[in-house]
Every structure is written in C-alpha cells, then in structure tokens.
Amino acid sequence: MNHNRQVAGNIASIKADVEASTTQADLVEVIRAVENHPGPLDYNDRPMRLLQWGLIALSAICLAIAFIEGFLYGSVESEVFYRVQQLIYFAFSFSSFWIPPLIAFFIALRLEERGLHLPLPAAPARIAAITVLGGLLALVPMWHHIYWMLLSGTATLVTNGGSRSPVVGFAICALVASSAIWTSLRKRRNWRKPVSKRIYLLDSLFNNDLKPVATKGRIETLLDTFREFDRGNHTRELKALYRGQYRGDEHSFDYELYHFHYVRQRTVTTTDSQGNTSTRTVYDHYYRHGLLLDFPFASGIGLSADSGLKFKGERYRSASNTFNRLFDVRAEDEMSAARFLSPAILELLSGLGKSLKDAVLEISAEGRLCLAFDDDDLLSQKPQHDLNNPAAFVEEIAGHTELVKLKQLLDALHGIMRLSDNNFRARPQTKEVTHD
C-alpha cells in the first residue's frame, strides 16, 4: 500500500515535470531523472492479480458446473465432482453477502493508494472500516433480490435466452470483472509508454516552434469564417490548437495547426423477429485536422475533395482533368477562381489532393485560408524508444524531430503564396495571426 502510494506519487511528479518542460533540454533532464530515479517506479499489484486469477478460476468452475449440469446430468459418477459442486453452491448461495465487502476491500486498497481515505489513523483500520461499510449492504433486504435478478438477467441476455441460471450469470460477471482488472493492471504496468509519447509530442512541438493556444471560444468564430467547420449536428470542438511560424524564401507567415472533433447524432430504428420496433440514438465521432493562416492574395474560394462537404457559389472547372477529378471548386465569382487557379497552382493542389485524405482548401471572404483533411499523422510520429530504455530515449529526444508532413504542407502553401502574389508589388510583411 505504502509502496504503491509512493509509486503513484513518483509518477505524478514525473508527469508534472514533463508538463512543466518548456525546452528540449528540460525534457532530456526529465528522462535522465527517470533513469537515475531511486524509485520505486513500479506498482506492486499482487493482491489485484490474485483477485483477477481468482475470478477467472471461479468463472471457469461455475461454467464447468453449469455445462455438466446442463448436458451431462446423471452421467458423471465421480464423488469428487458432487462434493465440489456442493461446496461451490454453498459458497455461491451466500455470494450476495460476501461479494460487497470483497469489492469494498479492493476499492479501499485503491483509495489508500490515491491518498483518499477516511479520517482514521492507521491504514488497516481504514481498510477494515470501508470493508465493513461494504458489508453493510448485505443487510439491506432489497439488495439480495436485485443481486440475483442481475445474475439471472445477465445469463439470459448473454446466452440469448439459452440459460437463466445465476451460476452462468456469476461466471460471466466474474469474467468481465477479471478482464477489467487485467486492462487496468496492464495500464498501470505500462505507464511509461503514454508518458514517453507525451514527451515525444512536446519535443516535436519544441523542435518545430509550435506553441499550444487556448481553444476557448475559437470554434464559434471559425464556424462563422469557414464552411469546413460546419460539420456534424451535435458536438463541435477544437481538441488542440498550436501556433507556429513558417519562414520561406519569399514569404514568412504565422499559422495555426488544429485538431477538430465533431459528432453526428442519428436515430436508428430496429425491428425484432416479433415485429417490435425500437429506436436508439447513435453518436458518430469524426476527427479532422488542418492549418489556418492569412492569405491576402485571393478570397471567397472553396475547393473540396470531400464528398461530404459542398461549397456554395459558382462552379468552376479548371483546364486540368486530373485536378477536376480530385476537387469540386466553387467561388463567389468564376473570375476569382480562374485567376487563383493558375497552372502551377493546379499542379501543386493536385499533389495535395492525392496525398491528403478528403482534403478541403477554403479561402474566406476576409482572406483567411483553411487547409483541412482527415489524415492524423501530422504530429503523431512514433518514437523508436521510450522510458523503458531511458539512455536510448534521451539520445532520440536530444536529436531534431522534424514534422516531415507538416513541413511538406507548409512548403506547398508557401508555393501557392509565391505563385499568387504580384512580384511587382511590395510584398506583405509577416503577419501576426489574427483571431477569427
């Protein structure tokens, strides 16, 4: 208990150090600190593992008994089998009494670990108190009725009416609980992986001069500016927003990299074999990624390679068959689309359309550009090493992690700017990002 509390504290402190890092050197220092950490950094989950295997064993025995009872009744002549069966049934018939304190006991262990405990001086006393409190549930008469109903209901539901035996229901519940415990233990054992991923992401952000930006209130203004954000009918939110700066040969510009999440709500009606109809609401989650920047060289144009998004306005077809197959182009007037979509830009956009999934390029009437797509690999490059091998991980983090795909997209956008500007006019200076 004490050990696990120390581990939880140490991990929380490492995570806090990671979040407090502002440079690559800080991250390297955190990894070195993990490498030389006096510990403990690994949980001792023996009681939970014992519970997990106990539940699996109990589930297997219950299922075996139910199977023998159902299919081989009378043909088994072993005395041992009937003795075991009697013993299991005895224990099982009182399960509504011992299950609540057992669950309360393990909850108490977890609470101790997290430092959330009753105002009692000693840990064993606190655990015993919570266990007894859990046991008090058995004194509520209604509880036993609900418990047996739940077990029978689970058996009926899972076997599709094939069995209503509480033994089967108990076996199923024990299996589900053991797999939940297994998942939770696995997550605790592998805590280094998500922390390593976070370190790698922060390193990529530092290396590419990307800084997180507050997302509060931005989605409403983006929705007013770009049709791209008018998706879904339930939730729309910016999961992440980063700001960076691109320095090109001819133009330098600020840009924002976003991760957009939207939800589509729909109602599904199903009819069963007896002709009864039921409706339920389904929520489909979708994610889009993209770049936002100022683009003072064109306005009011929308290019969509996503069949789910149609722009309004006059339709324009370019001279390139390849481009026309990829994008549907709409503009406030055909001339502005014709002026913007010069041959070299058509080639650049055709390249983008082929390399990105469901790409959309939108230039608002106010001269803001949004390049959006389904691809989620702009920031999610996979590290070669992690905190399980701190020495190799330090070496990897200390190097320069370039976001290759992001750079390619920014180069393409710079190319579009270079080809759209007027060479004989004074070039616009680098602009600060204006909030939409």
């Binding site: 001279a319 390139s320 041959p343």
Partner: protein
C-alpha cells in the same frame, strides 16, 4: 411483352454506353483545347515583363543592344502565337524567353548596382514564375492529351471514335531544343 423488354434492355444499356463514351471523347477533346488555350494565355503573360525590362534598360542606361533585340524577338514570338495547336510556335516563344533570360544575366554583370536592385530581382522572379507557369500549363496539356488519346485508342472508345467521332490522335508537346540534347529518342 416481357420478351420484347428483355430484348430491348441490352440495346438500351448499349445505347447509354455509346452515348457515355461519345460524350467522354468529346469532353476530353475539349479539355485538350482548353489546356492549350491555357498554355497560350500563360505564354502571353510574358508581355507583362517586357515593359519592366525596357524600363530597366532605360533606367540604368544599359548599352547592350542584345537585350533589346531579345525583347523585340520575344514580343514578336508572342504575337505570332495563334489560337490553334501549334507546338512549333510555342517552342519558338519559349526559346526566345530563355535567350532573353540568358542575355539579361550576361548584361547585368556589367551593372552591379542593377544586379542588386529590387527591379532586377522582381523581373527575374517574374520571369522564373512565368516559366514555371508555362511549364505547368504544358504538363497539364500533355496529361489531357494522354487522357484524350487513351479515350480514342483504347477499346471500346476506339470503336465509338472510329464509327462516330472520327477524332485524330493529338501529339503531346515536346521541346525540340531540349530533345536535341539527347542521343536517344524513344521509338514511338
């Protein structure tokens, strides 16, 4: 009645197929025409540079007559471009642009002040971008030509073209000067 419908159905499907292929060929032919018009538009955009080059020559009192000669030759090559597909005239205009670019680069060596000036960098950036635009327009034209040629030469397009459209194969654009640099030429 049902038998007649069963007989008519394949004929109807065939008719729709022929109409689709016919329209596809005509559409692709028109796309080639439009892509060529785009090439000519980009080539004519070079007229935009000429006044700037002339202004530059005047402003810096450049004595190299060759630059002005190249400017005149380019202007004449651009005005010679017709509306039809004439790859030879386009190649000539392209050669004139390259000659002007080279002439400017040589002449400017004698005028370090001009070389460092914004006007010079603007003109050079514009010429380079226009060359890029013409190159892209030609590549788009060649891809559309490929689309069209495939449509009339591949079965069943070849059958529909032979019977109804009777369109001839179009040659893609190739630069004779660039081609002259290779010993190899594909036996197409």
């Amino acid at each position: 009645m049902i038998e007649s419908l069963i007989l008519l159905l394949p004929l109807l499907v065939l008719l729709i197929l022929v109409i689709t292929i016919y329209n596809g060929i005509i559409g692709k032919h028109n796309a080639v025409d439009r892509a060529w018009a785009s090439v000519l538009t980009q080539e004519r955009q070079k007229n935009k540079i000429i006044p700037h080059v002339e202004q530059m020559v005047e402003q810096y009192r450049m004595h190299e007559a060759s630059v002005l000669k190249e400017v005149t030759a380019l202007r004449s090559a651009i005005s010679d471009l017709g509306n039809g597909v004439d790859t030879a005239k386009l190649a000539q205009a392209e050669q004139r642009t390259t000659a002007l670019l080279k002439g400017l680069q040589v002449a400017v060596e004698a005028y370090p002040e001009l070389k460092a000036s914004e006007t010079y960098s603007q003109v050079m950036a514009e010429i380079s971008e226009q060359q890029e635009q013409v190159g892209a327009a030609i590549r788009i034209f060649n891809r559309n030509v490929e689309d069209f040629n495939n449509a009339i030469q591949m079965f069943p397009g070849s059958l529909v073209n032979g019977l109804l459209c009777r369109k001839a194969r179009i040659d893609s654009f190739s630069d004779s000067e660039a081609r002259g640099g290779f010993d190899y030429s594909p036996n197409l």
